[in-house]
């Protein structure tokens, strides 16, 4: 279950004492390590995801690793195969639909994503029904937990995150170009389709790896919320990615800290902190735009 409630000492008025108690538990140290890696990875990928208006695709890729895992368990192979297989297959199907801003193509794109998600989840229901049992871990898969993360898992997570960030760094410039102005990018010889596909596969792979540790809800929350907040505040890419990562880390650390001293789940605290940051960023951008008497900052972000 997602309940922490391990703060036996209870919350004291001495913040230093509280932090020391938090870090005296090895599972909390691992939770902080994993949370930090996840925040950095999800922040960097999420910034591009929000810029590219692919939040729906991101959510779909975050949830479809569950049927993959259920199917893999049913077939008797390692669940990791299922996680990655489903996420990458989903990414390729979504990438096969041409992206376009024109009405008809956009509505078909959203219909395809919705179909992929619903069908994958229906397959999950089928696999669960065929396998029998498995339902309790389903709640964990959806709502997530940061508990019981082993040292090995932290190491794996670090390796996967580093690899994903290296790939993202390699395609960052053409990806940004292709996002901001696909037509000009194509004319300049940027392989727009290829770059978009690689990005979706990267998004799916990262979501699959992270959701094994944290559950689908937290992956999605960390992909979208910090990036959405940062893009309310700045349109500059470098600063935006930096702010996103900082927001993500603040969200995870404070969420974990609060959950440790309470009986309520990590997912609730992490999403609440993330949403609060987003609302504050929104309010700040509104006030700043009003004060400066110029078009809202988001208008500077491309479409």
């Amino acid at each position: 279950m997602t309940v922490l409630g391990a703060g036996t000492g209870g919350l004291t008025w001495d913040l230093g004492q509280d932090v020391r108690e938090l870090l005296s538990q090895h599972f909390m140290v691992n939770a902080f390590r994993a949370g930090t890696i996840v925040a950095v990875l999800a922040g960097a990928i999420g910034w591009f995801m929000v810029l590219r208006r692919q939040t729906f695709a991101g959510h779909t890729l975050a949830v479809i690793s569950f049927p993959g895992a259920a199917g893999a368990i049913l077939a008797g192979v390692s669940a990791s195969f299922g996680y990655f297989g489903a996420a990458i297959a989903g990414a390729l199907v979504i990438a096969a639909v041409p992206r376009s801003t024109s009405g008809q193509a956009r509505s078909q794109e959203s219909a395809v994503i919705g179909t992929v998600q619903a069908f994958a989840l229906a397959c999950g229901a089928l696999f669960v029904s065929l396998y029998g049992g498995f339902l309790n871990s389903l709640v964990g898969l959806l709502f997530g937990t940061f508990l019981g993360i082993s040292d090995t898992q932290v190491t794996t997570l670090l390796v996967v995150a580093t690899a994903a960030l290296v790939v993202l760094g390699a395609i960052a410039r053409p990806l940004f170009f292709a996002t901001v102005d696909p037509d000009v990018a194509r004319a300049r010889g940027v392989p727009v389709r290829l770059v978009s596909t690689v990005f979706l596969v990267l998004l799916g792979g990262a979501a699959a790896e992270v959701s094994q540790v944290t559950g689908a809800l937290l992956v999605f929350a960390l992909l979208v919320m910090p990036a959405a907040a940062a893009q309310r505040l700045t349109a500059r890419p470098g600063l935006g990615v930096g702010l996103t990562v900082v927001f993500g880390i603040v969200t995870v650390w404070s969420g974990l800290g609060m959950a440790y001293f309470s009986v309520y789940p990590v997912g609730f605290f992490v999403t609440t902190v993330g949403f609060a940051i987003y609302v504050l960023a929104w309010a700040w951008a509104l006030v700043a735009a009003r004060l400066a008497r110029r078009p809202m900052l988001e208008a500077a972000v491309v479409r």
């Binding site: 949830v63 229901a125 309790n136």
Partner: protein, 294 residues
């Protein structure tokens, strides 16, 4: 003789036997009402590229149901309340009744977080309760509909269908070209608002039948298939409802014949089958027309 064998050997008697079960009659009645509503609403959801709003509302339904369970009130109250309130919120947030997808994503990730909180409150406050009632909210239990519930669902579905048909013409105008529509005096914003509330009510009703996670399939898949098959709006509108109803019936029969197949899977597999057929049938035509038809 097993149900599946009976259906194969003698379809007429098999079907008659199938409909002698009260739970099958309830499932067909409630399922048909919800399918008609989802198919009609789904046409505009896809046309307006608001599938993500539907996705968000289906997750809000989970939180609403879990909140009602935690508070100890009727689940239906939580479902409808949460969906309608969030639908109104999404309509208010977005310009012209359409919210930005990052706004939707941030809002519903947080609402799902609230769902996790309610689930914890529910499972810890009442002893002996496991998480399975939360699971049935996620995956639906159409064979568990009582006859009263089925009549209620069919009535709600019919009401939604009447509502969508009533606003179909101006909504189509507003969806295809909102600038011209508002210049012609069509209340674009109010229509977007009313429409999202209808989506919210549909989400709440459908969650009980096919489950929150699969509702999206009933909204997006039949409508996507219908729009691939024909460019004529009102034909596609009706076709979308027909595919949704047909998929529901096929799914229910398959699930009855093969009890290990959950009805939700049968329904969605039939709908996805229609979509794949529509896609492959129109692939050549779309290529010839340069991928995008007006």
């Amino acid at each position: 003789m097993t149900a599946s064998a009976a259906l194969v050997v003698d379809p007429v008697t098999g079907l008659a036997h199938m409909f002698s079960h009260p739970f099958i009659r309830s499932a067909f009645l409630g399922g048909t009402g919800i399918a008609v509503a989802s198919g009609l609403v789904g046409y505009f959801v896809v046309l307006r590229s608001q599938v993500f709003s539907g996705d968000a509302l289906s997750h809000v339904a989970v939180t609403g149901a879990l909140g009602a369970l935690a508070a100890g009130i009727d689940v239906a109250f939580g479902l409808y309340g949460a969906c309608v309130v969030v639908a109104i919120g999404l309509a208010l947030l977005g310009a012209r009744g359409r919210a930005d997808d990052t706004v939707i994503g941030s809002v519903f990730a947080w609402i799902l977080g609230l769902g996790a909180l309610f689930l914890t409150i529910y499972t810890t406050s009442s002893s002996g309760v496991d998480a399975t009632s939360g699971i049935s909210v996620l995956f639906g239990s159409i064979f568990g509909l009582s006859s009263g519930r089925a009549v209620a669902d069919a009535t709600v579905g019919l009401g939604i269908a009447v509502g969508v048909v009533a606003i179909a013409r101006p909504l189509l105008f507003a969806s295809v070209d909102d600038a011209v529509a508002s210049a012609r005096g069509v209340p674009v914003r109010a229509l977007g608002f009313v429409f999202l509330v209808l989506v919210g009510v549909t989400a709440a009703a459908a969650t009980q039948a096919v489950g929150a996670l699969l509702l999206l399939g009933l909204l997006a898949t039949p409508a996507g298939a219908a729009q691939r098959l024909t460019a004529r709006p009102f034909v596609a509108f009706a076709l979308s409802a027909a595919i949704a109803v047909g998929s529901t019936w096929v799914g229910l029969v398959v699930s009855y014949a093969a009890p290990t197949v959950p009805p939700s899977f049968g329904i969605l597999a039939a709908a996805v089958g229609c979509y794949v057929v529509a896609w492959s049938a129109t692939l050549g035509r779309a290529r010839a027309h340069g991928a995008v038809r007006g």
